[in-house]
Amino acid sequence: MRADLLWVREGWRSEQLNPLGFGGFDPARLIMAETREQTETLAVAEEALRDGVVAMVALEITAPLSLTAGRRLQLAAQAGGATGVCLIPEGMGSNAAETRWHCAPVFDRDDSTLQCWRLIKNKSGTLGSWHVRWDAQACRVAVVPPAGNGPGSAGASD
């Protein structure tokens, strides 16, 4: 049994991930942990990050993250060498976070995977904004110039 992604979320939410819509990512590589409340979510995420056997841990939170909790997750990720991604509701970011991104889909006449990724917090660098599209065949995101703004990304340094 191997898994690359552990998704931790609270079990009461009616919104559900649909494995058929993952667009190239194999759902067999995903393990989901459904918790009862946020404390459990954080504990499970910390445990998995510290272990480092899954390459990436995604957690969905519903309440603001305290500074202590954010820092603990960060230390656990450092100890295990795994990447942690925390999906936060608007405006609930933790100050302990290394980077914070704002991702939103963008309407485009010819493409239906275009997104705008904005780096809105970065502890060790500058902020930036990129337009990316998802390449389902190659299973990766490709940076594209934003429509109408000419070549080059808006304030990005690759």
Partner: protein, 475 residues
């Protein structure tokens, strides 16, 4: 030696609630409630086995009755069989209410056959079990004595004592052969021609001309170990050290049987005879003590030791077959670490809450996958989706719109959205063989709507029952 418990069923019940009144157990067979087993007081009232229960109540108004439980009775006989192992190692079952023991060579340990019989009777009488014991050189003769007269000579016993079916027994009686002695004096060839070889086989078995084996039952393996400590312990490290020793012993047992533990239960008994349990459910059957032990850490740390723990017991509650596997150098990742992580997460949030997606054969979007417990399923990469599907689905949320085409402008979750491009429709019909209340509105025409504001939504229209709903969101 043959042991016959003539009232095994009633004795089992009356051990728990003794009564002097007539007592019967009833069993419903072919639509009739009949008396299955009865105590001495009921027999004195003139009742017998197989009498219908309504007749029995008419004969004896003060009758106490209970429904019979043949399964519990068989369980009770198993317990008795285990108890009988104290007399000799060869114990087999005889029918549903008897035991057969091969005491050759073990009688002298109890001071000879007479003393052994006396002790056996005393012990059984103390447990209020009525028993008839037949002791003979052969299994058939012992059975005959147990059922038809304990001290009698074999030749004087009736022919039924040879374990014959009723037709043969009646046939023999019609010929005037009532005793075993008469039967053995009769020429053999005509008997075989008349009754077949079974009769003489039984006779030879009883007389010892033909061997008959006792097949002892295999004890099911018991996966439990325990340790009693001379001094109570209270430190977490001490408890873990005790668990380590027990685990080593338990895992040796598991290895010998080629099984692995799935659920382990560590019982810690305190000096004030309170017991606390630490349960560990594993994501995969395991029998490696070095890997199981750290998984106990979290449960043991929550135990309240009180005045100290003086007995530790470890049991594998659920075991599964686990065959040895060949390790090779090409395996890139150790699957065990992932299982350990699932186990650790499972001890915190429950093993059933760690899940994975498995493909399912359905074109209904919400039934095209199933969510299974990760610990009890294997990953399956066999996913196929001919049409694009949203990454997030939720119960349908209605929006205000009319007509078969997606609306130009609509409001969803308090957002005013404008349709930029709509792709569709993709018609999905309900699965008529399943009665799903969510699909009572009939056919659905799914549209993929990309809004100018950015959101890409999955809308559907129900033409048979006009209405528009949002069911999912694309990335």
């Amino acid at each position: 030696m043959s042991l016959w418990f003539p009232r095994l069923a009633t004795d089992r019940v009356l051990r728990a609630r003794p009564t002097d009144r007539p007592f019967v157990l009833t069993l419903t067979e072919s639509n009739t409630n009949r008396v299955y087993c009865l105590n001495v007081a009921a027999e004195r009232q003139g009742l017998y086995r197989g009498i219908s229960f309504s007749d029995a109540r008419a004969f004896c108004p003060g009758l106490v009755s209970m429904p019979a439980r043949p399964d519990l009775e068989a369980q009770f006989l198993t317990v008795l069989r285990r108890w009988a192992l104290r007399w000799c190692p060869w114990v087999g079952r005889e029918g549903r209410d008897g035991l057969v023991l091969d005491v050759t060579g073990s009688a002298h340990l109890f001071g000879g056959e007479e003393a052994m019989l006396r002790e056996m009777r005393q012990r059984l009488a103390r447990t209020r079990l009525s028993v008839r014991i037949g002791l003979a050189e052969t299994r058939g003769a012992a059975w005959a004595r147990a059922h038809y007269g304990e001290g009698a000579a074999l030749a004087d016993l009736p022919v039924e004592a040879l374990r014959l079916d009723s037709d043969t027994a009646i046939g023999l009686k019609r010929m005037g052969l009532r005793r075993i002695g008469q039967l053995s004096a009769t020429p053999r060839a005509p008997l075989t021609r008349r009754f077949g070889p079974g009769l003489l086989m039984r006779l030879d078995q009883a007389l010892g001309y033909q061997p008959e084996q006792i097949s002892p039952e295999v004890e099911p393996p018991h996966y439990g170990v325990r340790m009693t400590l001379p001094e109570p312990i209270g430190l977490e490290s001490d408890v873990m050290a005790a668990a380590d020793r027990l685990l080593t012993r338990l895992c040796d047992k598991l290895r010998a049987q080629d099984t692995g533990a799935r659920v382990l239960c560590l019982t810690l008994r305190r000096v004030d005879s309170h017991a606390q349990q630490v349960e560990l459910r594993l994501a995969r059957p395991m029998r490696d003590p070095a890997r199981i032990l750290p998984l106990f850490q979290r449960g043991v740390s929550q135990v309240d030791a009180g005045f100290g723990i003086d007995q530790v017991r470890l049991e594998a509650v659920q075991v599964e077959p686990l065959l040895s596997e060949q390790l090779n150098s090409t395996g890139t990742r150790d699957p065990g670490r992932m299982n350990d992580l699932i186990t650790r997460i499972g001890t915190r949030i429950g093993l059933d809450n760690v899940r994975r997606f498995l493909p399912a054969d359905s074109h209904i979007p919400e039934r095209a996958f199933i969510i299974a417990s990760a610990a009890y399923s294997q990953p399956d990469s066999n996913w196929a989706s001919p049409h694009p599907r949203p990454v997030l689905i939720f119960p349908p949320e209605p929006i205000i719109a009319t007509g078969p085409r997606p609306p130009e402008h609509f409001r969803w979750r308090r957002m005013a959205l404008t349709t930029g491009r709509a792709t569709g429709p993709e018609r999905i019909a309900p699965e008529w063989w399943l009665d799903d209340p969510n699909w009572h509105s009939g056919l659905r025409d799914y549209w993929r709507v990309e809004t100018v504001q950015g959101r890409r939504l999955w809308l559907f229209h129900t033409p048979q029952n006009p209405g528009w709903f949002v069911q999912g969101e694309f990335a």
